[in-house]
């Protein structure tokens, strides 16, 4: 009973981290960094509820995805065509998310703080012998594998990596640096958007002013941790999800918390992530043109 809830809990906690990280990995491979993932998660979680309440859960997921893609597009245009600072644009998205959703809750439902998503418009779960499982768990895994394939086994993937490593050479070879990077920006936004929709209309069935609660930043850490490999982003998401669940499960035990204070138990997911990043993975090499706008000579 406890074990199955631990496993299912870990799988669900993995989804937003892995999905968001997967998109960002592709974008960073092309040399474009978006630290506004947290904001995208939050805004998309909000718009997904609006979409789902109007046209059902599938529409909700789509609205979330499109919201993320749109924000990614704006970020991309700022960073690529206007050569704006990617960090500042990303921070802007996070700030926008915090304000927009707090205001949107009151504006849309007249309730400050939170809105409960009606059962009828939530993404239906797959029932398993161990409990309900969200289909988005499978979607997240498939997306990570497909993204890996796209990056490593296709022509577009080659262009993506070329643009991230040496945009001038890619440009000389006839690759449109701007277009490829813009694709990365939109792709990263779309996946974060879908992850945001998962938070609100699937996993947690609610929208609050801070529903993302730092998951966008954990996803950014996972991007580094994975060494820009989407398959390792699955591992990263699972490790974080598992230790996150384990910490809370362990915190309920009086016998255990007498020996180890619960505050230490709840540090586990972060400590383990740090250890893995620092020790096991070793040095991660980022694309050479990461975070730099491309200017044709």
């Amino acid at each position: 009973m406890l074990i199955s809830s631990l496993i299912l809990g870990s799988l669900h906690a993995m989804v937003p981290i892995t999905m968001t990280a997967t998109g960002e990995i592709l974008s960073e491979r092309a040399g474009l960094v978006n630290i506004g993932l947290e904001g995208i998660l939050l805004i998309s979680a909000f718009t997904a509820v609006v979409g789902a309440e109007a046209y059902g859960p599938l529409a909700g997921l789509l609205v979330g995805l499109l919201t993320g893609a749109f924000i990614g597009l704006i970020h991309g245009i700022i960073a690529i065509y206007f050569r704006g600072d990617q960090t500042i644009s990303g921070v802007g998205i996070n700030v926008l998310g915090a304000g927009l959703v707090a205001f949107g809750l009151v504006w849309q439902w007249g309730q400050a703080g939170f809105h409960q998503v009606p059962r009828a418009v939530r993404v239906p779960a797959i029932s398993t012998p161990w409990g309900p499982l969200s289909p988005m768990v499978i979607v997240a895994l498939v997306l990570a594998v497909l993204t890996w394939y796209l990056m490593n086994r296709t022509n577009l993937g080659l262009k993506l990596r070329a643009v991230g490593e040496n945009p001038a050479a890619a440009d000389a070879a006839g690759v449109s640096v701007e277009k490829v990077r813009l694709f990365g920006a939109v792709f990263a936004g779309a996946l974060a958007g879908l992850a945001g929709a998962f938070l609100s209309i699937d996993w947690l069935a609610t929208i609050t002013k801070n529903l993302s609660a730092g998951r966008g930043f954990i996803a950014l850490a996972t991007v580094v941790f994975s060494g820009l490999n989407p398959l390792l982003a699955i591992v990263g998401g699972l490790i974080f999800g598992f230790f996150n669940s384990l910490a809370l499960v362990a915190s309920t035990s009086r016998e255990l918390t007498r020996v180890i204070p619960y505050q230490f138990l709840q540090m586990l997911p972060y400590v383990v992530t740090l250890l893995v990043v620092a020790g096991v993975i070793g040095r991660v090499r980022f694309p050479r043109a990461s975070g730099q706008p491309y200017r044709r000579e």
């Binding site: 809830s5 906690a13 007249g110 309730q111 409990g131 947690l204 609050t208 801070n210 669940s245």
Partner: protein, 387 residues
């Protein structure tokens, strides 16, 4: 002849009514937290307190909404400047800084803050609520429900470990202990009920609440009390999902709400909530401002004074009607929600309700004193002795 006597009677009545309202002159301004009316929470309860003051004291009430937290200061200041209100009440601790500032600027204006604390100003009454007493009631209901269902575990999911929350936890444990002792005495048994508690470290992460509640459900908890703000929304979701996965439309397991009547959030699975009576707080503050007993500083409204209570069906109806008035709820939605709440209430064993109301009575009369813990050491002490 008959008509003229009727007219005289009407005139007399009108005069009487006029003199009555003149005798009980008074005016109250309520400044709401962001979101304003129709939140099915503190704001609506504050408005209900204003309604009661209007009805029972003949006070005129002015309600002021705040679009953002930045509006608190100008709103409070504008009201104070008119000098026509006997009391300005602020709903919720978020107003506390703005109120401290404005109260210092207008020392002759009386203020009251609900569920917050403004220190060092004689013209501000800070109303807090005896949440440990209310939490004990929840513990009594939870433990008796567990015993009736042949279970031995209940839970409480909390936010960040701050002194106020320790008070909730220990109050809840005290209620559980009381109910178990009573059960054993009545049945001649030697049962025990284990209380699982988790401080999730967050008030704004429903995912943590959901995971913590799942861990408790996995260990056989049948009732989980949430004291964790938005984190607690995850507790409701976990409980409902767990029950529905077994094909149930109604608990057990059950969740218990907090602060306001949250019974509507997961209809069928939240039979009761521990309510902080913001309405009583507003009413008490304006009453005291009018009859000259107003005093600045902290005021704790106890269970006996109506400061906390277990939510009733009537509380839910009253609050939903307030939301309908504010336009955020329709009558059809209300009736559907109420049906769900009613189902949850009926699914709780009668003896659990009886335990709750018995303890309510004992706390009111002072026969049972709920222990308070406001630091970690005291809390640990009570955790040990309340087993």
């Amino acid at each position: 002849m008959r008509r003229s006597s009727l007219m005289v009677a009407v005139l007399l009545l009108a005069l009487l009514a006029g003199s009555l309202s003149a005798a009980a002159q008074g005016s109250l301004a309520i400044v709401f937290d962001v979101g304003g009316r129709g939140d099915l929470s503190f704001n609506d309860m504050g408005a209900l307190g204003g309604d009661r003051a209007q009805r029972e004291l003949g006070v005129t009430v002015r309600e002021v909404e705040s679009a953002t937290t930045a509006d608190f200061l100008p709103n409070l200041r504008a009201l104070a400047r008119t000098r026509q209100y006997d009391l300005i009440a602020g709903i919720g601790f978020l107003l506390q800084d703005a109120m401290a500032q404005v109260a210092a600027e207008f020392p002759n204006q009386k203020f009251a803050i609900m569920d917050g604390l403004v220190e060092g100003l004689p013209n501000v009454m800070s109303v807090s609520f005896a949440d440990h007493e209310g939490s004990a009631l929840m513990g009594a209901l939870a433990a008796t429900t567990a015993l009736e269902l042949g279970a031995d575990t209940v839970g409480i999911v909390l936010g960040i470990e701050i002194p106020i929350l320790l008070r909730f936890e220990i109050g809840y444990r005290a209620g559980v202990k009381w109910a178990v002792d009573r059960w054993n005495e009545m049945h001649g048994t030697n049962e025990s009920v284990k209380v699982l508690h988790v401080y999730t470290g967050a008030f704004d992460d429903p995912a943590r609440g959901k995971t913590a509640a799942e861990a408790m459900l996995g260990q056989g908890a049948v009732v989980i009390y949430q004291v964790a703000g938005a984190t607690g929304l995850g507790v409701f979701e976990a409980v409902e999902e767990f029950a529905r996965a077994q094909g149930k439309e109604v608990g057990p397991p059950f969740a218990i709400g907090v602060d306001s009547a949250q019974d509507y959030i997961a209809p069928g699975f939240i039979p009761v909530s521990m309510m902080k009576r913001i309405d009583t707080g507003v009413f008490t503050a304006i009453s005291r401002a009018l009859d000259g007993t107003f005093e600045g500083g902290a005021t704790l409204l106890t269970l006996a004074e109506g400061g906390v209570s277990a939510s009733t069906l009537e509380d839910n109806i009253e609050m939903m009607n307030a939301a309908i008035e504010a336009g955020t709820l329709t009558e059809a939605e209300r009736d559907e929600l109420l049906a769900g709440i009613q189902r949850a209430r009926e699914a709780v064993p009668a003896s659990a309700w009886e335990a709750l109301y018995t303890l309510d009575h004992l706390i009111r009369t002072g026969e049972f004193v709920v222990p308070q813990a406001l630091d970690a050491e005291t809390a640990e002490f009570y955790r040990e002795i309340l087993q």
